[in-house]
Structure formats: C-alpha cells, structure tokens
C-alpha cells in the first residue's frame, strides 16, 4: 500500500490562500486505508480549513468528495463538471492522483498529502516502509526481508558496524527499528538458509530503480490498440 501523510495544515492553508471556492477530493484506496485521504479525512480537513478561513475573516467555499481511485481517469471523470466549477482542487490522493488530475483538468490541482512510501501496517496507526520498489527483487535470498528498503544504507552485504547491542539500527527515525541485516541473519537462521548471505551479493543494478529514469510497465497482450 502507498503510505502518505497529510501535509501540515499551515502549508495547506498557504496553498489555498488565493482561492475562495475549492473542491476537496479524497481517494478511497491506499490513502484511505492509511488514514490520510479517505472520505473521513476530507470531512475533517474541509471543516478545519473552513474554520481557519472563517477565523481569518476570509471564508472559503469547499465542496467535499471522494473517488474510488484517483489514479484512474474513469473514476475521476464523473467529477469533471464539478471540478471545472471550482477554482482549484485539493487532492487528498497520493502524488499519482494529483498527477492524474493535473493531466486531465486545466484547474490547479493541489496536493494535500505528502506521499511517503510503500508500507505495511505494523499495527493500527503505525505504518512501516518495507519495500522500495527498486524493480529487482532479491527477497527470496534474504528471507523475505528487504535490505534495500529496510537498511538505511541499502547495504547488500551488511550489517554495518552501526548496530546497537540490542540489534537495532543506529539510524532511527521515528524510534528504534531493528537492523534489517540482523533480521535477515536471524530469519535465515530459522529457515536454515544462512548460506544465502555467506557469499558476496553483486553490486546492485540500480537501473531498474527510479534512478534509471521514470519507469513504465507494458503488458503487450493487454494493449487494446492493434
């Protein structure tokens, strides 16, 4: 799932500064699941913005809505007329939704979210990055634990020396997290597959990652044009 955060309200208010009539459009997919951009958040954010603007003495008119998936034109299309009746759209989708709407409509599409990462639900209210979408998976060798996403240095031959005595990583944004390589080592032990990492992993071909430029996937047989 794509995990996103709502931008700070101050930043959103600043973005909306020039407008008096705005559509707040949520997305009921990933960002709803990660509680950043579903219908509930649309309602909350709209109420907050209306309140703030009322306090500033510059009321704003907000229409609220949410679509099933903002990354598909077909879901957005029913909103075409509504979108055009507004000065701007504040999209509560991931960056994909903002791009998608921008491609289609000549109205400023503003991002309400910061799109963060591909994540798992660690427990309710906590999402963790576990896949970096590098395009070249080695999870079968590392016990299903991705060193690219879960090691701060993307090491392929870790762990580095910065492992704390309790096995957590010295780079600890948002609290201690286990060193990916300690996890890999322990997991492979359980699976009796330690030999997987006794040999040297080759230097990674990053061309499959976004470092190789914007990516596209094509399924020839599914193309409709002849």
């Amino acid at each position: 799932m794509i995990v996103a955060d709502q931008k700070p309200i101050e930043e959103i208010l600043q973005m909306l500064e020039p407008y008096r009539k705005v559509l707040f459009l949520g997305c009921q997919s990933c960002v709803a699941v990660c509680m950043a951009g579903g219908e509930k958040e649309v309602g909350l954010l709209a109420a907050a913005v209306r309140l703030a603007r009322k306090q500033q003495g510059r009321p704003i008119e907000i229409t609220e809505g949410a679509v099933k998936r903002q990354c598909d034109d077909e879901f957005n299309e029913p909103w075409a007329q509504t979108i055009q009746q507004h000065e701007a759209v504040l999209s509560l989708a991931c960056g994909v939704g903002v791009n998608k709407l921008s491609e289609r409509f000549d109205v400023p599409i503003l991002p309400a979210l910061n799109t963060r990462f591909f994540g798992e639900v660690e427990r309710q209210g906590v999402w963790a990055e576990v896949c970096a979408g590098c395009g070249n998976c080695i999870l079968h060798l590392t016990g299903g634990i991705c060193p690219i996403a879960r090691c701060a240095k993307n090491l392929l031959n870790g762990p580095c020396g910065g492992v704390r005595a309790d096995g957590t990583c010295e780079v600890s944004r948002n609290g201690p997290r286990p060193c990916a390589w300690v996890m890999i080592y322990e997991r492979l032990g359980k699976l009796s597959q330690r030999q997987n990492i006794e040999n040297i992993f080759a230097a990674k071909d990053w061309s499959s990652d976004r470092h190789g430029g914007p990516r596209k996937r094509v399924r020839e047989d599914m193309l409709l044009e002849t």
Binding site: V33, T82, Q124
Partner: protein
Amino acid sequence: MSEIKHGSVAVVGGGIGGIQAALDLADSGFYVYLIEEGPAIGGRMAQLDKTFPTNDCAMCMLSPKLVEVGRHPNVQIITLASVESLEGRPGNFQMTIRQRPRYVDITRCIACGRCIASCVYQDTKFPSEFEVGLGKRKPVYIPFPQAVPLAAVVDPQTCIFFKSGRCPQNCLKACERGALDFTQTEKLFMLEVGAVIVAPGFDPYDARRVGEYGFGRYANVLTGPQFERLLSASGPTSGKVLRPSDGKAPKKIAFIQCVGSRDLRHQRYCSAVCCMYTTKEAIVAKEHDHQIEPTIFYIDLRAYGKGFENLVKRARAEHGVRYIRSMVSQVTEIPETKNLLIRYRDESGSLQEEEFDLVVLAVGMGPSAKGQELARRLGIELNEHGFAKTSAFNPVMSTREGVFVTGAFTGPKDIPETVVQASAAAAAVEALLAPVRGTRTHAKDYPEELVPDGTPRIGVFVCHCGSNIAGVVDVKSVAEYAKTLPGVVHAENVLYTCSQDNLKHMKEVIREKRLNRVVVASCTPRNLAALFQDTIREAGLNKFLFEMVNIREQCSWVHSDQPEQATEKAKRLVRMGVAKARELKPLSVQSVRVSPAALVLGGGLSGMIAALTLGDSGFETHLVERSAELGSDLESADVQGLKAKLLDAVRVHPKLRVHTNTTVREISGFVGNFSSVLRSPQGEERIQHGVVIVATEAYEHKPSGYLYGEDARVLTQRALEKALTPQASPGLFTVPPAAARCTVQAEPAEDEAHAPRAQGRGEGQLGKTIVMIQCVGRTERRPYCSRICCAEALKNALTLLEQDPDRQIYVLYREMISYGFFEDLYRRARDGGVVFIRYDEQSPPVVCKENDQLLVTVRDAHLRQELVIKPDLVVLSPGVVPDPYNEELSRLLKVPLDSHGFFVEAHIKLRPVDFASHGIFLCGGSHAPGTVPELIAKAQAAAGRAAIVLSRGQLEAGGIIASVDPEKCTACLTCLRECPFGAVFINEQGLAEIEAVKCQGCGICAADCPAKAIQLGQFEDAQELAMLEELFRPEQVALKALTPSPLPRRGEGERGRG
C-alpha cells in the same frame, strides 16, 4: 410432577442480589415478584460511592439495573412489603404479603419534589435512612435521586398529620398530579409462586455496642457506611470529606478494622469485606483531598479476592496509605478540638498515642434482624451465627425445599459473590420450575409496522410536567415555535406526556395526521424513552422513529432562575431534536434462532455442576473433559460422597452428553449459534450450541525449594490431607479443587513417593512436631493470594490435633486469611495450642537438614527474632495456579486472560460469571481460586446465566447497531481491529461486515472508519450533524430544504455527474 404449578417466583429483598436474581429469572421465562421492605429497591450498594477493587462508581453500575428491573414486563416490584407467611410445597407455594401504605400513588407521582418543598417542616429534620443518619430528610421524601420506583413516600412515624392529625396538608395541595393519598391503608394479599428466593442482606454491626470507640458519643467518629456517604458525590456533603463536628476538612483520618468482628464479645466471625472497603475508602478519600493522611489499624490484612492485593499495593505505594498492624484499645475525644486520641501498641509492642481529626470504624456485617424474622416466617433454619443455614454442597439451598437463600443472608459477602449467588439461586429455581417455564410471563403484541414514506411528517409533544417544566419554560411558545420548523405537521403542549390519557391521545394523533416521526420534549430519555417508543410502536410506527428532548433535568430544573433563557434554550433543543428526527430512519430488529444446547469445557467439579444445572433446566449439554475421567479434581476424602453423587447424576442424566479424552479444535459463531469441532481418539465431531461455559479448574502449585522433593518429610497440604483420615464433617471446610490433578498428573512419581510414605507412618506417625508454611513461593510472578490455603492448613491442623492432642503444630504465615466463618477454625486452632508465627514477605522461612534432622528457621515478624524449630514434618501451602490449558481456550474463544493466567470476567462486580463476549460464561478455579461451596455457586450461576440465552429460543439482533456500506468499504480493517466485542468480520466479498448479534452499539468503528463506510443506527452522522447545524442557526438564515443533502457521496458523484 403435577405439584409444579406456578411459573412465578417471589424474590424477597431488593438489594443487588435480589435484583440480579429477579432479572435472571424474568429473562429466562419466569414471572417475578420482587418484594422489598423499604420504599425503593437498590439496597446497600446504592449507598456506596465506589466499589473495590476497581473503584468503579457504584451508582453507575447499579442504576441501569434498577431501571431495567423497574421496567421489566415480567417483574412486579412490591415495596414497603414484608412476608407474612409461606404455605404449600415447592412448585405450589402460597405467600402472604403485608404491604404498608406509601400514601403516594406511584402511578401518578412524577418525583417532582413539590410535596417535599411544601411540607410544613421548612427544614429537613429527620435522619435520612439512605444517608445513614448523616443527612436529613422530611417526613415526605424521595429515597434517593436514582430510586426505583422513583416516587415520593410519606413516613407516618414523622409526619405531623399522622402524629397529631393537625396539619394543613400543604403537600396534598402542592401535588399537581393528585398523587398523595393519606387514605391508603395496610394491605394483606396472597401470591402464588413456585419458588422463593430470600435475599434480605445484612445489617451493619451497631458500632454503639463497641463502646470503647465512642461512636454515638464523639461527633467525629463515623462508621464505614457513613464515611461512604461522605465520599459520595451525591451524598450529604457532595463528596467533600468534612468533619461532622465543625464542617472542616480533616487531615489525619484513622480507620479501625474489625469493629464488632472477630471478637468473642461481639461477632466471632470475620466480616470478609472490611479490609477491602476500608482500603478503598482510604484511597478515595485521598483522591478527593490530597491533604488527607489515612492510617488503617488492622489485625490481619485480608486481601484474598481477585485484584484485591493489587488495590492494597496501590494504596500503599501510590496513595501513601499507612497500615499499622495493631488492635486499637481505645479512642478518646479531646473536648476542645473534638480531635480523637487513639491508643495502640505498635509493632514493636510499645504503647503509642496519636491524635486524629476523624475516625472511621470498619463495622462488620451482622445478620439482618429482618432476615431473622423472615426466616422464622418462612420456616427456614439459621446457623449459629444467625445467618441462613445452607449445605456446603448447595450453597443457595435453605433447609426448606423450594426456598433458596442468597447473598449476605448466608454469611458475609462482597458484591460479586452476592451476584454469583443470586444467579446461582436463579439457576436452582429454573431447574426446579423448568416444566412451567414461560407459563406466567407474557409478551406484547404490536400492530404491523407502517412503511414510512420519504417526506418527514413530524409530531412534537412538549411536556409541562405539571409546573416542573411549565413553571420555568414557556411551554406553549415552544410548541408554537415547533410548528414553524420544517417537517413538523403537528405540535402541541401537554400537561403530562407520560400520562395514560396522553399516550392514548398520541397514538390517535399519529394515525390521524399520518405522523412518521415523533419528538417528545420532556424529561430525560433515560427513564421514559422506552415508554414512548413502545407507544409509537403500538401506533404502528417503527420505534426508532422517535427522538426525545430533555427540557426538564437539562433545562427547566437547572435554569429555573432564568426562565426566558430557559425557554430560548428549550426552543433550540427542540429545533435540534426535530432536525435529528428529519434524518431518522426505521431500524429493523431481526430474530435469530438459538441452538438450545450448551457446551461446558472442563469436567471437574465446576463443569459437572454447571452441566447438571443446565440439564436439570431442560437443556442438552455437552460436557467436555480433556482427561479420561470426570471429577479427578475431587480428591479429598471429605468430598468423595459429593463426587460419587455427581458422577452418578452425570452418568444417568438424559440431557447430558459426556465427552472425555476430548479437546475442542475449533469454535466459530456467536451467541445463540456456536458451532464447534470436538476431537477425541474416536475422531472428530461437529456440534451446534447456543452457549459456552468455560469451567476449567486451578491446580496446586508445585513448590520448589524447602527440601520439597528431596526429603519425604516435606510435603504439601494436599499430600498431607490424603495422608490423614478425615474426621471433620463435610461442609465445615473446603479443599482446593483440582489441586490433586497437579500432583497426580503433572508429578505422579514424586507425589506417590511422598504420599505412601507419609501414609505408611499412618495416624500418629506423622510426627509430634509439625510446621506448616503458608504462601510458599508467592513471588512477583505469582503475587496473588490463593484464598483457600489458610483454611486448608487450619483444617488439617485441627485434624492432626484431634488425632493426637499432644502434637505441637506451628503455622508460619504472612496474613491469616480465615475470612468469614473460617475464623472459627482459626480460633479453634489457637485454642487447641497451634502456634502461629507471622513472617515478613522479605524474609521467608528456610528449611534445611542437619544430621537428618529437619530444621526450620523463621524470623518472627512480631518478636523480631529468629526462631529455629526441629519438626518431624514440614507441610507447604504453595497456592494454586490456573490450568495452563486456559491459554489455548483463550485463543479459541477469543476471551482474555489476566497476567497470571486466570480468565477475566466481563465485569468484576456485576457480571462475574460472564465474559464480555456474549454467550460465553465462566466458572471454576481458572476464573479465580475458591472454596468448594464458592465454586459450586459460581458454576450454578454460570449455568443460570447461560440458561437465559437458551431459554429464549430466539435472540433479537439489530436496532442501534453499526452497519457497513459495502459500496464505500475499503476493507482497511480499522473496524475489525478496534471493535471491543469482536463483532466485525471480513465477508466473502472481502469487505467488513458487522455481526448484528455481537454488536453492542458503541459506535467506535463508525467514528474511526476512514472511508466513512460505517454508520451507527440512531446516531448516524447525518443525524448528529443536522443537530449541530441547527443548534446555533440564527433565525434569519433560511431554513434548509426538507431533505438536507449530506456529503456528496461517491456513488452519487460517479453516477450523477458522469
């Protein structure tokens, strides 16, 4: 049996025990007469501020029960009534009742208080029974604000009209409802009942009789029950702890324990609850006022129940409560300050004097005087202490067949034990009267529901409540205003909306004006909403198309000094109510069939009792036991008779199916409809059942150290018990249930090695000098009191002495937990020469060996010196631990375990044998350690609670529950993770769905659903937001269209704008 005639039951006593028994019976198909001496039900619990060990608010727990029993169609509450006589036989009793006049017609009284205000006595003058004399009342009064029945009462003892005959009777004139009636006279009438449950409770010991503490003479000496009222927010001081003498806040408060208890001059037995209620009062006092320094003087600190130890720890550590182990010899008052001087010996034995601002006496539980009279009239026997006589093996059976006893009438008890016994007594009655179940109860018929059309047609009824509302609020203008609101097609003001004539009128208006929503603006919905809902249902409307606006308790009564403001507020509240009503939707209630069978897990004492009770009540019951035989926990010789009887009864019972060598592999479903797979060596079998009872037991812990297992002269109390030929009569004492299983199954070799050798020595060969060590291995990991070990040690010590009076027996203990009547054993043991040596938790006794001589070294906490004993035998009390199988059951049933591995009940006070998950009940030692009678009562209670579900045949599901809009659900699992009741599941479409039967209607899921896919019936967002929008809407702003549009919904957007 032709004799079983009446499907009705008399419950005598309207305290928490009587209420619980009445509700259980009424819910399972019996008609109940709830007979109460006083003017209102509620009993002692209503007077409490908080309850231990959780310090929950007593009234918050009790009040919903009061309302429930008060409104129950199959319960008739008869107040101011006493039993005159009881004739007949079980199943066919004739009970004569004498009812004193109330001088108030409760069908007319609306508890407005005008009669009280107008009484010729300007000031409250007479001591209030409810306030235990601390507060005052008038001759006409309402017993307490939450009383049921909620009506005034006239006390002829103090009413001047009755005393002198000369009174202007202002009250009669003041009552707008004509409810007062001084012509009422005493009535005698007869009830036909199949059985009787007697629950008259206890009398607090009269502290005046313990003269040395000066109660009644010194103003600042109070009793525990009085102090409880001081702490209560609704008490005489509004919850402020103030001294009676000068109204000042006391700083140093002394609590004196065992006032009247454990005292040959007074009550010999221990009152069982005072240590804990005092601890609670000390904590709550401290919470009210941090300046307070509480000191508790005690003899033994008896924190033996579930969660008790923890409360005491918190009292010491977090609240700084000072505990002093000392008997206070005297309290004297310092005349100038009215402070109190307490003289006591401290633990080093030196005499101390300390001054306190307030003294609270922990008075014990005495047998109820009225209960004793009642016993005489009912023809049941009392025991030597004046409590009801019961059999150890049927703790709720009196000496007269068909008459059951419960609660503190059978001995000192706390609330959960009382509730357990109440449910147990109800279960016993159900079993007795099973053939006539449902013959006296009635269900109401309603017309078919009209299907409302889309446009709201709202009727608004604004209540005067006599002058209660109309005296402050301009009711007429509120009704006029209501007419202007969108959707309202009828509005009127009514003198009493709840009166029978108005209810009839309401139904007519609904039909004539084709109303499809009704708003009543009157008093609190907590009392009367159900009445109005019932009324509109009688008129063919769905009962959820109703909204109640509280303009009495939350308007006229609190703003009586600002009538104009109150009127404006009433308008706003009505406007909100109407706004919500416009959005209301009919909600459906479906019936779910109940599989009329039970699954009982655990074939020990508790499991057998529960299964037999259910079987006797007519329900097919599967009794599942992991091991090869039932009752293997019943090992002690004194319960062999019981065991044989139970095994026989189980074997021949036509309703029971016994599955030994069987485990449960899977349990699915919900209350009323469980489906389980049982696995045995014969294969797997799937069974359908409506309820589950978890009845696993607890084991004697296997001790380590103390040379146990190394020297055959060191054994456990259980092993000793086996080695002794029991002399005592059954019922006097108890054994730890299932304890044997540990020794027999877990460590057979070792135990056999002990027992035969001990036995080999036989009587008299156990040695002359015997040391018993209590609380063996009670550590941080097992910090709870096992409750039963002290009594067991005392019993064995007495048996040893009976065999050979020359024996020297030492009992090394931390606290002597001989609660209730076990105190007799303690006293007899002391009289018999048993030496009791108390040791501190920090310095436990040490057992070692020197040249084959056992040596026990102990530091006597009282003498503060080390003693060395050379015993022939060392007996250990290692406590009990819950069945390790509980962990698996906990996972299978999704029911919680506490940190020690015991199951956690739904509510420690009021639902002690229920799990929070509906349809699953618990009993047995794995719930909490207990004596045989305690476990039997718990097993009966669990069976009784389970029988309520089974007896219904159908369960109602729906109404105010949450539901998921599958169009919007993104299956994020938030609801599934949050639901406290496990009501959410992911359906075959991969979307969240809510099991209607399990949903309790809290709305947590609806509030957190990120896709806004969940709504809670009657509290939908559209309804709540409509109220908010209307609340402060300035009049000039145009009214919204009749059907306000909520958030543009995704579906609409997609289809509508496409």
